[in-house]
């Protein structure tokens, strides 16, 4: 079925079939209708036959009377007729008869027929002469034969009645089948509308691309022309002739085909979604809508004050026109006065409103240092402007206080760390000196080793603290330059080659062939990688693989670090990025607990994102940056 809808021969065959089916179905339908009508009206076939016969006998009676009166040879003229004739005069004397009692009779009908004055043309050897014949009156009885031939209309009709009533069920079935087949073909044609072999989707042919309303008008015009032609033929009295009937039949078929074409075109248009779109009306409406939109945009773009002035001007002008039209000098004067007083007032209000609007927009966009000039504002507007200014002042003070406190915090941490560093220097130096001495026992040597280790850790902690504070407050110079992540990964791998080897960790790098660049500060980015790799060396399960993947996806660069944690990570990824939080609750290993926090702050300072995913023992860090296109 699906393939057939794309085949042109199938479509042509379907159109041909549907036409034939239409004709046959109409025929079967007519027969079925006749059968049903007869049986409803008459009940049995016999009664129906009798009724039909009687109506014809009445008509034939008139003809017989005429012929008899004119002295025609009834015997030869009516020898083949389906009825027998008895002609009587008004006194019931039989004047002529061919009644045969042996012939079975269906029914009889008697009609009293008078013959009017009538011109009669007698053909004589001398020429023709016309005389008017006087009136006569006869009782004509016609006996319809039970067994009829098809020489006249009555015979035809009776046989039709017989056929239709006898085969009523067959015709009904045929008609229903015909309708069904017709519908199937119609559905097939509707399905195949717009399909074409060798191309997917809906293909509109040239006629389907004609705007739908024009298309419809074309068909309506065609119908109109046809109607006019038919009425011309009708009034000319040409109906009834064989040629006219043939013509009408051909016309009917042509009409049906045109209608089919029209409907199929609608189907194709609906499928392609262009039924309403592809109409002249739609185009006109769309154009009108666009023009209206453009006008609306234009109006919106007119500055507020000008808009107000425009409205005032229009109202004033309308008033003026109305006053002039009414020829009322008083209202003209009033209008002028109104314009002179109200105009400037409304203008002033509009100007004030504009100032307030601009001021509020400035505050909304974060400009907290340019108050609204309320010195030349009107009453309530001035108060409103002053309120806005005090909101701005409050906001500005709050922001300033916040910034001050941040700055103070960073400064405090920096100063404290400087102050810690001086005693720390002494400690480190003297520990070094102790190490150079002959130490009395192994125990003392162990103690000195602890001092050495812990002082080194204290040094790292103070450095990290300052850095974390600066990174989180953004108090750090960030110089964004194109940075080649592939190079940085290679450098990182080189820097960490030995430390990874010590833990028997195997680093698996994967990156695209072409260079991947982002906008970043190389030193800060190295610090991020440094912190992450240092964590991996500290916390990864020895003798496992560490994966570092560099991926690009839709303008994003993702750097993914994956490793297997040595100890279970029963901590959320968000918590891990907090300051001083470490995965190992025992805090036995080296490190400040600031590494991830610093890394995240630094990544964010470079407009990137850092996420941590923990899945069982799999520890995954994802850095995301916007890719820099070459």
């Amino acid at each position: 079925m699906n393939k057939l809808t794309y085949s042109l021969p199938a479509k042509i065959a379907a159109v041909f079939l549907i036409t034939v089916m239409l004709l046959l179905t109409l025929l079967a339908g007519a027969m079925a209708f006749a059968g049903v009508a007869f049986s409803l009206q008459a009940g049995t076939a016999d009664i129906a036959r009798r009724q039909v016969t009687e109506s014809y006998l009445y008509r034939y009676g008139q003809q017989v009377a005429q012929d008899f009166y004119l002295g025609q040879d009834l015997a030869s003229r009516y020898s083949q007729a389906n009825y027998m004739i008895v002609v009587r005069d008004t006194a019931d004397q039989v004047l002529w008869s061919n009644y045969d009692a042996a012939v079975p009779v269906l029914t009889s009908f008697t009609v009293r027929q008078s013959v009017d004055r009538h011109p009669v043309t007698n053909n004589t050897p001398q020429g023709s002469e016309t005389t008017w014949v006087a009136q006569a009156e006869y009782n004509i009885t016609l006996y319809a034969k039970a067994d009829m031939n098809r020489q006249d209309a009555m015979g035809y009709l009776v046989s039709l009645v017989d056929t239709s009533m006898r085969n009523q069920a067959v015709f009904i079935v045929l008609a229903v089948l015909g309708i069904l087949l017709f519908l199937v073909l119609l559905v097939f044609l509707f399905c195949s509308a717009g399909r074409r072999k060798g191309s997917e989707g809906i293909v509109l042919n040239r006629a389907d691309r004609i705007p739908f309303d024009l298309f419809t008008v074309f068909f309506l015009a065609l119908a109109g022309v046809q109607g006019a032609a038919l009425s011309r033929i009708y009034y000319a009295g040409e109906f009834g002739s064989v040629i006219a009937i043939l013509l009408l039949a051909v016309l009917a078929i042509a009409d049906f085909l045109l209608l089919l074409w029209y409907m199929l075109s609608i189907a194709a248009r609906v499928k392609a979604g262009t039924l309403l779109r592809n109409t002249v009306v739609f185009w006109v409406l769309r154009l009108a809508w666009r023009v209206l939109c453009a006008i609306g945009r234009g109006i919106r773009q007119i500055p507020w004050v000008w808009k107000v002035l425009l409205v005032i001007g229009v109202v004033f002008f309308a008033n003026l026109l109305a006053a002039l039209a009414e020829r009322a000098p008083a209202s003209l004067l009033l209008g002028l006065l109104e314009a002179l007083v109200l105009g400037p007032l409304v203008f002033l209000v509009a100007v004030n409103q504009r100032k307030l609007k601009l001021g509020a927009e400035r505050i909304a966009s974060g400009d907290l240092n340019s108050p609204i000039d309320t010195s030349r504002m009107l009453w309530d507007f001035k108060r409103f402007g002053d309120s806005l200014n005090s909101i701005q002042g409050g906001l500005s003070r709050a922001v300033e206080a916040r910034m001050k406190s941040e700055r103070f915090k960073t400064e405090l941490i920096t100063n404290v760390s400087h102050d810690i560093k001086t005693p720390l220097t002494s400690i480190i130096n003297y520990v070094g000196l102790i190490k150079q001495q002959e130490l009395p026992s192994q125990t003392v040597q162990d103690y000195v080793a602890v001092l050495d280790r812990q002082s080194a850790r204290l040094k790292k902690l103070t450095d990290d603290l300052v850095e974390a504070s600066k990174a989180s407050t953004g108090n750090l110079a960030v110089k964004l330059e194109p940075a080649d992540i592939g190079v940085l990964l290679a450098q990182t791998a080189g820097e960490y080659a030995e430390r990874l080897d010590e833990q028997s960790l195997e680093l698996v790098l994967s990156q695209p062939d072409e260079a991947v660049r982002v906008l970043a500060d190389g030193r800060h980015l190295w610090r991020v990688f440094d912190n992450l790799m240092s964590n991996i060396c500290k916390y990864a399960q020895p003798a496992t693989r560490v994966y570092v993947n560099l991926e690009t996806d839709a303008g994003q660069v993702r750097i993914v670090f994956r490793n297997i944690s040595r100890s279970p990570l029963n901590i959320s990824s968000e918590e891990l990025m907090e300051r001083f939080v470490r995965g190992d609750s025992a805090r036995s290993t080296e490190g400040s607990g600031l590494g991830l926090s610093i890394a995240r702050s630094l990544v964010e300072l470079q407009q990137g994102r850092m996420q941590i995913h923990i899945d069982g023992d799999l520890f995954k860090t994802v850095l995301t940056f916007a890719q820099l296109r070459a």
């Binding site: 400087h418 560093k421 001086t422 720390l424 220097t425 002494s426 400690i427 480190i428 130096n429 003297y430 070094g432 000196l433 150079q436 002082s455 040094k459 450095d463 300052v466 110079a477 940075a483 080649d484 992540i485 592939g486 190079v487 940085l488 990964l489 290679a490 450098q491 990182t492 791998a493 080189g494 820097e495 080659a497 030995e498 790098l509 990156q511 970043a520 190389g522 030193r523 980015l525 190295w526």
Partner: protein
């Protein structure tokens, strides 16, 4: 032996440094303020000054600026300020090196020795004749013919690969070379993901020619770009 002036307001640090330096055979003088340091420097024959920045009366930066008006003795700044801006300021005013607190005494000794060598031994060395097989950048010298590298006049032992990398970097002193460039020129082939090999060799090289490899002064890492040898090419 060279005379070294130690200037810090923290007596514990001063005496610790004294112990380390005297153990190496240096004569030491001490000062507690910048003013005192200036006076001592004027009165004595000083060969090197270790100068703290944050001190009472006169801070290290001011003292350094004053000192530079009259003499060019090597000055190493000892500072608790680890900001880049502080280091840059100190170097611009005229310091020859800087060490951040808390420092490792071993590093201080190494830097002191390096500065003294440059000041006493190498500074007066006459310029060599133009020689394409001989390169000199900062305190580094490389002789391609003799496969010899000298750092402050002392020979450094390098593997052949490290030697080639250093030669390339010295030829392009001041330029940033990406790991790929270095691989192509030293290995004569495409790296195909082997750039980290270069990074490993550079790291070893740094450990050999830098006093503190974590804070290189010569062979610098330009993160996400490449590597460069800092300094001017000398004849």
């Amino acid at each position: 032996m060279p005379n070294i002036l130690i200037c810090d307001d923290e007596p514990d640090i001063v005496s610790a440094l004294q112990i380390y330096l005297q153990a190496e055979g240096y004569t030491t003088l001490t000062a507690r303020t910048g003013r005192e340091a200036l006076r001592l420097a004027a009165d004595n024959d000083i060969h090197l000054i270790l100068l703290d920045i944050m001190m009472p009366e006169m801070d290290g930066i001011t003292a350094l600026a004053k000192l530079r008006e009259t003499c060019n003795v090597p000055v190493i700044l000892l500072t608790a300020k680890s900001e880049d801006t502080d280091k840059v300021l100190g170097l611009n005013i005229g310091a020859d090196d800087y060490i951040t607190k808390p420092f490792n005494p071993v590093e201080v000794l190494a830097r002191v020795k390096s500065q003294l060598r440059r000041y006493l031994t190498l500074g007066s060395r006459p310029a060599r004749e133009d020689n394409p097989t001989h390169y000199a950048v900062g305190s580094l010298e490389l002789d391609d013919k003799g496969k010899l590298v000298l750092l402050d006049g002392e020979p450094v032992s390098l593997t052949p690969t490290e030697f080639e990398i250093l030669k390339l970097l010295m030829q392009h002193a001041g330029e940033v070379l990406s790991p790929r460039d270095i691989y192509r020129r030293v290995w004569n082939g495409e790296p195909y993901g082997a750039e980290s090999t270069v990074a490993v060799h550079i790291r070893h090289l740094r450990e050999k020619i830098e006093i503190n490899p974590a804070e290189p002064r010569l062979l610098k890492v330009v993160w996400a770009q490449g590597y460069k040898l800092d300094g001017e090419k000398r004849p």
